[in-house]
Symmetry: D2
Subunit: 344 residues, 4 copies
């Protein structure tokens, strides 16, 4: 059985692991105050091209989302998000557990449009009973989205302009950010993200780290007393240097982007095989996640040798599924999968 069901089936990229091994017996301060966390934050600020950024490290994405949102929202404020947004669907109500409503907006590809956000905000403000409703205060977007779609620079800047006009916080969930920034058709980069977003996180768990997400906060008033809340949510790692070390490994030689590029390239081979077979896709994707719509009997056959994620039923005999690649995906394995798809 070869796993293509997700991008967190293996441990860490060998160079990430090497960093942990070589520093294992060094003594450092705890709780993220060590030299490696400092160095990782510096590297990230360099890649973002600005010094005025706070960087905090987390173990996982749900933890990052719930900690940031609960840190910046007042009790009556909620987050606008696509219906398919991770915080709205796959975090077991983590945001609500901190007291805040997710205000879901419809979106076929998981992206929010500037006009949609404007309409939601204006609709709220102009409603005579707005004091009886949750106040939209933060815009949560994912790049790539949960469906593999990516934002263009123009789309993100439009969103950002609406947010600034309306006093909304723009927050980007980058669980798979590397794959988006290295995708065909992408014109975004870290400097742009750190200019237009109030905060975003750079996902490590799904991109070659054992675990780890780097939250970047541009708007520093949002970051006041942030470490208290990090601790309160159980997100302050005792041996915090483990996070710092991994991000040093990922960013000191652009390994993060190398990993993403390679995974995207392998995913494109799977995509192309599907296209050649005439299969459609749930959403177009140029990232490491592909969502082909395939006949159920083909899927059953493939399931004997490969793990994929079942996504949704399309009709009586077709389903959309997800194939993922990662830092560890074997080129041979992809070749075999491609050939099995083509022969199906």
């Amino acid at each position: 059985m070869i796993r293509f069901d997700c991008d967190y089936s293996e441990g860490a990229h060998p160079r990430v692991l090497a960093k942990l091994i070589e520093t294992n017996l060094e003594q450092t301060e705890g709780y993220g105050l060590d030299r490696y966390c400092k160095r990782a934050a510096e590297l990230i600020r360099e890649k973002c091209g600005r010094q005025d950024l706070d960087v905090h490290f987390f173990v996982g994405g749900t933890q990052t989302n719930l900690t940031f949102l609960s840190a910046v929202l007042r009790p009556h404020q909620g987050a606008l998000a696509a219906e398919t947004g991770h915080i709205n669907t796959h975090e077991s109500g983590a945001i609500e557990a901190t007291g805040h409503k997710v205000l879901a907006l419809r979106s076929p590809d998981g992206k929010l449009k500037a006009e949609q956000v404007r309409a939601a905000y204006d609709g709220h403000v102009h409603d005579e009973t707005h004091e009886h409703m949750v106040q939209p205060k933060l815009v949560y977007i994912s790049n790539p989205t949960e469906n593999g779609a990516i934002y263009t620079k123009a789309e993100l800047i439009s969103l950002s302009e609406v947010c600034r006009e309306k006093g909304l916080i723009l927050y980007l969930d980058g669980a798979r950010l590397g794959y988006a920034l290295c995708a065909e058709g992408n014109d975004l980069d870290l400097p742009t993200l750190s200019r237009v977003c109030d905060a975003f996180y750079i996902g490590g768990t799904k991109a070659g780290a054992l675990f780890g997400e780097a939250l970047v906060i541009r708007n520093r008033t949002l970051g006041a007393d942030f470490r208290y809340i990090l601790k309160q949510r159980g997100a302050m790692l005792a041996k915090g240097r483990l996070l710092g070390l991994q991000f040093v490994a990922l960013f000191e030689d652009d390994l993060y982007f190398d990993i993403a590029r390679r995974a995207n390239r392998l995913a494109a081979q799977i995509k192309d095989a599907c296209i050649r077979k005439g299969y459609g896709f749930l959403t177009p994707s140029t990232t490491n996640q592909q969502f082909p719509i395939m006949p159920d009997d083909v899927l059953r056959k493939l399931a004997e040798k490969y793990a994929y994620s079942y996504w949704q039923r399309i009709d009586g005999s077709h389903s959309a599924v997800r194939f993922c690649t990662s830092f560890a995906t074997d080129e041979d394995a992809v070749r075999r999968l491609v050939s099995d798809i083509e022969r199906a």
Copy 2:
């Protein structure tokens, strides 16, 4: 200016007020442990035809909803509700503030169907990632709905059967329950409600009381330690007898139903005038709330003499609005409104 915009523009029905006046200087225990709360609970149990009911009194509906839901849900559990459900729209995120997600289902008239609930529950259970999602545990319905629609006995029994089969708690928000139970076409009554619902509340605020809602809990395991949570949510009234007294007044001679019947009858006169003018309705209603769709210029004209609630825009020249009647609605005022509608 005559107000038809809501059913809480005045104080209390004279007989409710009389009860407060005549007992004003009596001394009683505080916090709802007095003889009047006991008597009101007894009366409600009698009307419901069963003795195994816990009755708790609240000052308002949002308070009732948030206290009950937070008392019976575990942290990962949420409430299925119609998108238009009061807890999903007009309680400023009160349920989320207690940590729970409202799982919104689409519904044109605000009613939930048994099949919809079954599908939502089954969809959750059969999803491989259900541990990553909010678990549906409670079904929140309103009768009448926020749009004035009412449940039939058959619909409610179907819902109840699905709930029992799936282990879901069925909770009915009866902010305007009297109007539903006295509406043309209704075949529900308190004994049926207290048999099929796990809990429901009988709204007083919008039905002739100064304030007050009586929560009826049939499933007593749900009611364990309930008074602690009542206190914790700021819902335990020091002079609790004020709630008991009002419900005694409303239920000792069926005043509650007399008020509802009369208000429904007056609302029907407004409805008939609209029908005669050929106006459509947002949703059909036989309760004290009517939602006609009227030309904007007619509405502007009426607004000079009458207050109504603006509901939503229908097209470039028509809007849906709400006209409400209450215990205090003057028959003459209705006659004048009817005549002004007809002349418009």
Copy 3:
């Protein structure tokens, strides 16, 4: 049985009730936006001698406390309070239910001293691990305290100075504020309170209203979007005018203070009887609550005719109890109690 166990055994002062009766059928806007709430707020601003005050009305004290504290604290912040403070003992964890720790400080009489607050704040800030601890942000005091003690002007000003120096919010729970401001030995008044506190509430429930507390917020940045949170906590009364009307009745002719003065005077008669018998007191009080320490057999005897609150055991044969007077306390009843104490 004559009740002296609390000050909420009866309904409302006749003049408060009269106001409700005479306006009962008037139509007003809902949710506290009516002319009576506006008038009551104006009256309170006049009594406080400043125009820059926000006034919001609540049904009860726990509701007021939990709404205000949750509106102004960020998630990692807590409230310093005396161990005996109402929020720390008798609100069923209402503050914690909104996510905030009560940081309890020892105090024999329930008052906090400026130096105590300074030490708690400095201890926090200078602790190297302060990010791992709850940050003190609000100082909660009660006047009178739960034990009947009152603050002097000098004490309150000292507290206020520490709070401003340290950026702490000073909040005063005035559930029985009238009794404090009219107590023998008091030198505080509403203008002083509204100058030195960031917020405080004027209790109505225990001072002649059916129910109602008026929250006064001086520091207006604390009051931003306050009505959303009022609604979210279930504290926005549909027929909000009921609160406005009662405070108009209490403040338009200083009825509030007349009620307090009279109750204090009657309580002093009970106190004097105890002193004449040589009984000690748990804490000295010049307010409507008296906490004498009496022999258990005397208490048993009195219990045949009078209700009092049992407070705590002092030794094998003595207990501290509470006797309360209110707007409705009968002078004859006090005379009989005094005589029964003296004969005991």
Copy 4:
């Protein structure tokens, strides 16, 4: 600078790290459903001598505490804990952030006594106003305590008996459990713990793992739907096998206890040096944490070469500090420290 300030200054024990290295590129299921988590759970059940135990893995202690407590408490329930308990002092209000009060009891050494728990419970139940107070429902203890004290078997059994009699949940925070179970004077073991506690966790982070805590739940009704809540609190690690692997390494050859024994032995050398110098101790400890009371000038001198934790001021010229040993503590370093203490 040699660090004795805590037991999380280094990475992982070499054998723990080796396990991560050798399995790095294996593919497994995510979210803790992999074979290594299963194997680690089996090993722990074996060591505990019972099969009816649920085992869940967490990244850190605060996360474990807040997830378990919020999973098992209803909103009005709180946790009894020593004033010095970690949840009461050093988790930034994590428990309160989930809505629950920590009910602090005084304790010089950080241990709770059975009689103290009984008194707290009985005091609550017999208080007439108990519905106005937080209900004690869980007893939180730490072994060793935050001060290094350990429970005897008799003490723990007494606590357990009170808890069962009163329906209280007994939960043991074992952040440093290994050190307690291997301490001189200890008569507890895992089978006893898993018999008398409803739940406890076996700390890995401070005992040789990179990170990781194993929560053991004996009372399975407490564990219902636990993984939803694990996810909700951001505690479900995507590459969950990292936790499983580390606990396999720690428990397959009793490495966990070897690490603890060695660290305790080295700590005893530091302790003995202090005793020889006549220094007292804040609390007696036979674990890897020692809390000597030393002259400030000696401490200043030692600080030039060693890191220790400042604990508290004792008098004008003496302070209590903490020296910690860990899996990585160098024997030579201890020898040098001992000699520097002796020469001081």
